[in-house]
């Protein structure tokens, strides 16, 4: 099936051709009816990418195709794209209904259809009762839902969401995440969401796209990406904290929750790699402890392990066991990422 949005070697440089690229040679297909997330650390070019899709920024080079047609120089008002901004950007002087109806009125739809569709969109986000109020009278979460209703009401060919949940507190964020997914599934809209929260990306995505410094690092179904990070950057970003150097193996990584700590001089299993180490820190994390272990033989000196934590103190000697089936081979041994995180 033809992608709704296709980026063809798109780059953007702020401040002319010789400036550093915010987005570099990005190729990206957004599949119809799917939820795509753009994930990456702050400053990696997520917002820039979204703004180019919406038409607020022109790519310095490359092409943008919407529904198969070149739209690189189409102005935003002709693109039929729904955008939800991080700051919501609700019109402060209009009622909630007028905000939601704005995009329908610009399309010169008849009055009764405008009212009906604005009403439906508000109902979809559960805010029919607030129709007559002004944005300033609503809570952050409610404003966020109005912004969503406003974008959905125009039945856009793609819904763009720029960190729509980052202004909400932790509980509301999880709740709104579910709500967002429900609205997307109910409407069948194609959605692209920008986030730097990997949990959000994992839960929402049909496809997740990981960006680093304006370049694509890896993309795919989160169920495939999460257990198989392609390189060190992606691994670090997804919380693979350990990069041990094992004799006779290339660069590998393993999640802290898969690292087992055994008493000193105990033997690891046959399907595990073992290293001697010394505990350097035990950090209480609620349901478990994060134990940091120095492993002089393990290259990257410190390994982190999730452990009940009882009885372990800094200075204790331990044996670190790394189950081989949880070791992920990496394509590279790139420099540590997240420098500008």
């Amino acid at each position: 099936m033809e992608p709704v949005v296709r980026l063809d070697r798109v780059s953007h440089r702020f401040g002319g051709r010789d400036a550093v690229a915010a987005v570099s040679d990005l190729d990206l297909d957004v599949a119809r009816g799917r939820f795509t997330t753009l994930l990456g650390p702050s400053g990696c070019g997520k917002t820039t990418t979204l703004r180019m899709i919406a038409g607020f920024l022109r790519p310095t080079s490359g092409r943008i195709l919407l529904e198969g047609a070149d739209a690189t120089s189409t102005p935003p008002e002709k693109r039929n794209i729904g955008m939800v901004f991080q700051s919501y950007a609700l019109f402060p002087h209009m009622t909630i209904t007028d905000n939601v109806a704005f995009g329908l009125r610009t399309r010169r739809l008849p009055g009764d259809e405008v009212r009906r569709r604005a009403g439906e969109a508000l109902e979809l986000v559960g805010l029919s009762h607030a129709a007559g109020r002004k944005p300033g009278e609503l809570s952050g979460g409610q404003q966020q839902r109005v912004a969503l209703a406003r974008a959905v009401a125009i039945r856009p060919s793609v819904l763009l969401l720029d960190e729509p949940l980052s202004n909400l507190d932790a509980r509301l964020r999880v709740q709104m995440r579910r709500e967002l997914l429900r609205v997307q599934r109910e409407t069948g809209l194609t959605a692209v969401l920008v986030t730097h929260d990997q949990e959000e990306a994992l839960e929402l995505s049909d496809t997740m796209v990981i960006l680093n410094a304006g370049r694509l690092e890896q993309q795919g179904d989160p169920r495939e990406v999460f257990p198989r990070p392609a390189n060190r950057f992606v691994a670090e970003f997804l919380g693979y904290d350990n990069f041990p150097v094992l004799p006779g193996a290339g660069p590998v990584t393993i999640r802290p929750e898969h690292v087992r700590l055994l008493p000193a001089r105990a033997a690891e299993g046959a399907d595990e790699a073992g290293l001697d180490g010394t505990v350097t820190a035990v950090t209480f994390q609620g349901s478990h402890c994060l134990v940091e272990v120095d492993t002089p033989a393990g290259g990257d000196a410190t390994l982190r392990s999730v452990h009940p934590g009882d009885g372990l103190r800094p200075g204790d000697s331990v044996r670190v066991a790394l189950p081989r089936r949880h070791l992920v081979a990496l394509a590279d041994a790139a420099a540590p990422a997240g420098a500008d995180r």
């Binding site: 102005p75 794209i81 955008m83 019109f91 704005f102 002004k134 009278e137 125009i154």
Partner: protein
């Protein structure tokens, strides 16, 4: 409140007395039945208002003042609003410098500005005194309009216009339906501020008045140099009432306290 913060309450009270005391005295003197600038007034009458109406220069000057204030406020808005828009929303190289240029008339003493205008425009280009007054006041008011309208724009989310464009509105519709309403409270405040500033200005007007053309404050200044009766107090009250009326009317018209419902 008063009991919990006695010092603060006392200071507030003193500030109010210092600010409103002279105004109260002025109003009292204006309605006096006597013939000196004495307080408390010796009886009540409107005779000094009547006297002011009889005095031709005041009537002329009042007309000049209102005309200059209206025209220069309109001009300062006509120039200031687009300038603000360009500064806030456009991509102008050296934005800060341009912005600060708009600020210079506030920094340059009005007498210097007046002298320059007097020499270059009034004498040099042979523009009438009224024209020079309007130009001078426009220059005087421009920084206020740019700043005040700019503040209302700066407070608004710069993504509002993008949101409108994304929803299918072209640049014109976006301006009329989003940018302008968002700026409205700022424009209303700027109008009040500019009109009152022009109406009450003395230093600039003093230098730019020519034969037969003077603003009301300048004419009042001339008057008190020769005679010292309550007529000036009556005229001052008229100016005061006009200033308050303009502020009130603009506030009601634009309803700017209501625009942002937050």
């Amino acid at each position: 409140m008063i009991l919990r913060r006695p010092l603060l309450s006392l200071l507030t009270a003193i500030a109010f007395v210092l600010m409103l005391g002279p105004v109260a005295i002025l109003i009292g003197v204006a309605f006096t039945a006597g013939s000196t600038l004495a307080f408390p007034p010796e009886g009540l009458s409107l005779r000094w208002f009547a006297a002011a109406l009889e005095y031709r220069p005041f009537i002329d000057a009042f007309g000049t003042s209102v005309l200059v204030a209206l025209v220069s406020t309109a001009l300062a808005l006509a120039l200031g609003v687009p300038a603000t828009l360009a500064l806030q929303r456009g991509r102008i190289p050296g934005r800060r410098v341009v912005e600060n240029l708009f600020f210079t008339p506030i920094i340059v003493p009005e007498l210097v500005l007046g002298l320059a205008l007097f020499q270059q425009v009034m004498v040099g280009l042979q523009i009438t005194a009224l024209g020079t007054l309007v130009i001078g006041h426009t220059v005087l008011l421009l920084p206020y309009t740019v700043r005040v309208v700019g503040a209302s724009l700066a407070l608004a989310d710069p993504r509002l216009e993008e949101a409108a464009r994304g929803l299918g509105a072209g640049p014109v519709r976006t301006f009329l339906r989003v940018t302008l309403p968002v700026m409205a409270p700022g424009i209303a405040s700027a109008t009040i501020l500019a009109f009152i500033t022009s109406l009450n200005n003395v230093p600039l007007s003093l230098l730019l008045t020519g034969p037969g053309v003077a603003t009301l404050p300048v004419e009042m200044l001339n008057y008190v140099q020769s005679s010292f009766d309550p007529v000036v107090a009556a005229v001052s009250v008229v100016l005061l009432v006009l200033s308050v009326a303009v502020a009130f009317a603009t506030e009601r018209l634009a309803g700017f306290t209501k625009v942002f419902g937050r």
